[in-house]
Symmetry: D2
Subunit: 310 residues, 4 copies
């Protein structure tokens, strides 16, 4: 819904949010099995807001690149929908909350290889497999897309991190072979996993991610023209709201009231339809895998600005 | 979010929606085990919109009473939150989408008797149990609440239907005893089931339900004053969006983009924050238990009006 | 298989087993929610062997009555099979190991109300329901059967214990209503639960239980004539071996190698086909709900005597 | 238990069983995804009995090689136990019936990567991984073991079939990577899957398999000396009885009453402790993946001979 809401003066609010929410001591967890993410200093905290009127506000470590991880799933979904005039993607993946862990195989088995939504790992592997029909180097294409949308040459794939993560990607390999067994993966399982892990290893800053996600707040219109149709932009927002925060989507909708997508790198991308895209980043995670300080900061920002879709 | 959206002229739109969506032939299913619901003529179709500016629009069978069934869960949740200053309710029921059927015991067992959200049956039984701490006749209190909010003496409990439904409520009894076994039910299981079934058997019209639900579009302000706080109103909306349509919540958010709650009586209550509450009713159901014609009508109405939270 | 194995001299072996296995200090757990069972002194230990040649050996607390609990399921199954010439029972309950907890509802839901076997609670409720077609007081009939087979007037229903257990039988009530919802319970759920709990509250001694179970070691021939056919006797043995020890059936078959059925009262009934029936009792339980000292004693006895079906 | 049972004259019985049970028309199913197995003529039927007294009886297609498939799991388990003085194998795999499908990932996820028993695929992969600690070409070692026990140079690995099966082994790859993710696989996942598939592709005749399995009926003593200890022989028998027939173990124990292990190649190996080893083969399968004619023939043979452990 395009709203007439005028954004309040954001600079002081963002500065205050950084002061209030930057971690003072080490709490929360780091992703098991991804050593390079675990090594990021616990007190990193950045926030950026890109508005539909073309302004960008930021504070804290908003220009420090971090690993976007699962936030990439929003963009691969948009890229897949853009080229999917036949609607075949939605026969391979559903749009319902999963109610189970992001990398669970249980539901996938019970539901015969059709992932519950594109934001759990199984669904994201299917989306990447879909993108690979056009190009075998899907991760590079995701990088080009993000570079263009962010209007920045900053984004890059951290190949060392990707290689390290690949070495401990047994669960994702299991998911990929499982999908393959159900006939829901067209490319070789190992190739899909490699592209998936490399797309997750893209490094971006809060400012870049907020700008890259802005098309979702602008009815699908990105910096270089239409990315997706207005209805697809709304629909990506609805999937973010119902499925974007692992199995804490309900809690996030309850506390923040905005479509969001988090990654285990500690980033969260949030859309305020018609108003702005927000990216917050702080590396330590809660038990569900979402940024601890980031989630708190977004609840605070929502309270201060009145931004909520409800 | 309070929006400045002006509602388009609604009368011709609603009339057209009735013309387009009133079932012409018998399709869809009726609730198994509830004979009185199955007996409602398949071509019933009504729609009503109550706006925050005080107008009410309606068309079709908008003044025919029907069984509100699970739509009652929105109102019992609001009633429970109103009186729950200690927040104890949220220690007894979560706010996450369930990913499983509305009356499943599987998840409840795996999660040790804490229901996933207040809109699956197990969660609604806990909410009713919570209301019964104040009065043993919780169903009568729900009726009084609805009568007041709808500003109508129309609503009544169909006791014959309730008695009939009680006779085939084995699954709800199983859920109640199961909750009891986990210590998450305080009143006798049979009493909770009786109140639950009776609150579901309340008969209301589309016009009455739209008016009764209007407080959720008005930051919690009902016809007689504050029902719940603005933040609780938003939060009920978020639970409706993520959990309100059984296991088709994601699909409904995707197609309609608005918080909604359906009942197996064929009714759906939808909130457009800051704008209006909508109630549509048509008795035949899809495979997930949501009104077939009602869902289609709401998708159509959302397209025509641009109403969507995304 | 009727074997020619001669039993070794048993008296000194049993005495030695009592010396070795009677608990010296309090270890293991007691059944939650059944206070009267929890109150039994931890150092009780009895063992009795009734041979197909008509001898009875015993040692320790073999004449102290204890609550037979789930051991009753062996006898109700035999009673149900005896009268089930049409084989209808096996359309209502399967004969497969469950792989899940004895009182789980998960599998029952996934498998549409057909319990996996007659020894999990859901299956035993179906068996009791089956017996109630002949007499509403099925528990009294079970008592008469056991009294006759044990050739003793000792067995009795501990009605106080039954009443106490009934007050905390929420899970069994949930199972019964769940079965009712699937159409797999004919009598009222509450009546079935009452009979079930009362049959579990029958008090017997090791000597009485060994004698009562002897027909299973004698091709179905009991003290007063045929109880079940030779093939049904073998088949009950096979169900005991695969399903008799809750979810430790595999471990028990591995360590002891004999068909057995345990109860949370601490008793275990074991059959050595063609040779004898054994009952051991000691009240403290392991994590799976089987008698800790009893299981160890049976492994020891199996090693000393060479008794094993493998 | 060593029994004194004298085998009845077997030649006429086996001939009669072949006459009665050889399929006359095509019923049952063939394994999906293994074309070479599906191509075996439906009317193949062979049976062989190797007795502890050194005789071998056979009838029908008892000298036609077939793919042993999961029957190999009995032998890899014996090989692993033989060399596992430390008992480490039993910390990596349990001994309980699974209650779920042979290649399910659900239970494996819920139980954190510890397979329920060595006869489901996940457990067998762990056993093969265990064998690979001694030699990377575990399948060749299994072949050597079988060749020696069968005292025949006949057994061979059908490498073409293995290659074909490997091409459609996505589910087994998923299981292997899943186990790897839980730290319960030491060798590379792909290598374990290759060895596993090749051990399953060993071709043997009924006569050879009966002779190879005879050590399990002789307290662990094989043709060339001790294979496993008497207690391990009994224990393998107990695992066969409780877990050997996929999720029809209970039904097989009920109908046949003997420890058995089946393969999707249509073979079933059965042990009569102290008496003989039996192998029956017929390629068409029932819904659980066990040989249709083979299972019926074994029930018939058990009835005619009285062979049963119960």
């Amino acid at each position: 819904m395009t709203t007439a809401l005028k954004a309040p003066p954001l600079d002081p609010i963002l500065d205050d949010i950084v002061r209030s929410h930057r971690p003072q001591q080490e709490t929360g967890s780091v992703p098991a099995n991804i050593p390079l993410l675990a090594a990021v200093p616990f007190d990193r905290f950045g926030i950026a807001v890109a508005t539909t009127s073309g302004e960008v506000f930021s504070s804290g470590d908003a220009d420090v690149p971090f690993s976007i991880q699962s936030i990439s799933k929003v963009f691969t979904l948009a890229m897949a929908l853009r080229g999917d005039s036949s609607g075949i993607l939605w026969s391979r993946v559903l749009r319902e909350p999963s109610g189970t862990s992001f990398n669970s195989l249980v539901q996938l088995e019970l539901e015969h290889g059709i992932p519950r939504n594109p934001f759990i790992n199984a669904g994201a592997l299917v989306v990447t497999d879909h993108l690979m029909e056009e190009t075998s180097d899907a991760a590079a294409q995701v990088l080009r897309f993000l570079t263009a949308q962010a209007a920045s040459t900053g984004p890059f794939i951290d190949e060392a991190a990707a290689a390290s993560e690949l070495a401990s990607s047994s669960r994702n390999r299991a998911l990929a072979h499982f999908l393959k067994g159900f006939g829901n993966l067209k490319q070789p399982a190992e190739s899909v996993v490699q592209n998936y892990v490399r797309q997750c290893s893209i490094m971006m800053t809060c400012v870049e991610l907020a700008k890259a996600g802005l098309f979702l707040a602008r009815d699908g219109h990105g910096s270089l023209g239409t990315v997706v149709s207005p209805s697809d932009a709304k629909r990506i927002g609805s999937i973010m709201l119902t499925c974007g925060m692992y199995d804490a989507a309900g809690e996030f909708a309850y506390r923040v009231g905005l479509p969001g997508k988090s990654g285990v790198g500690g980033g969260i991308l949030v859309i305020v339809p018609g108003v702005c895209a927000i990216c917050v980043w702080s590396p330590r995670l809660d038990a569900k895998g979402n940024s601890l300080a980031g989630t708190a900061a977004l609840a605070d920002l929502s309270d201060r600005t009145g931004w909520s879709v409800f």
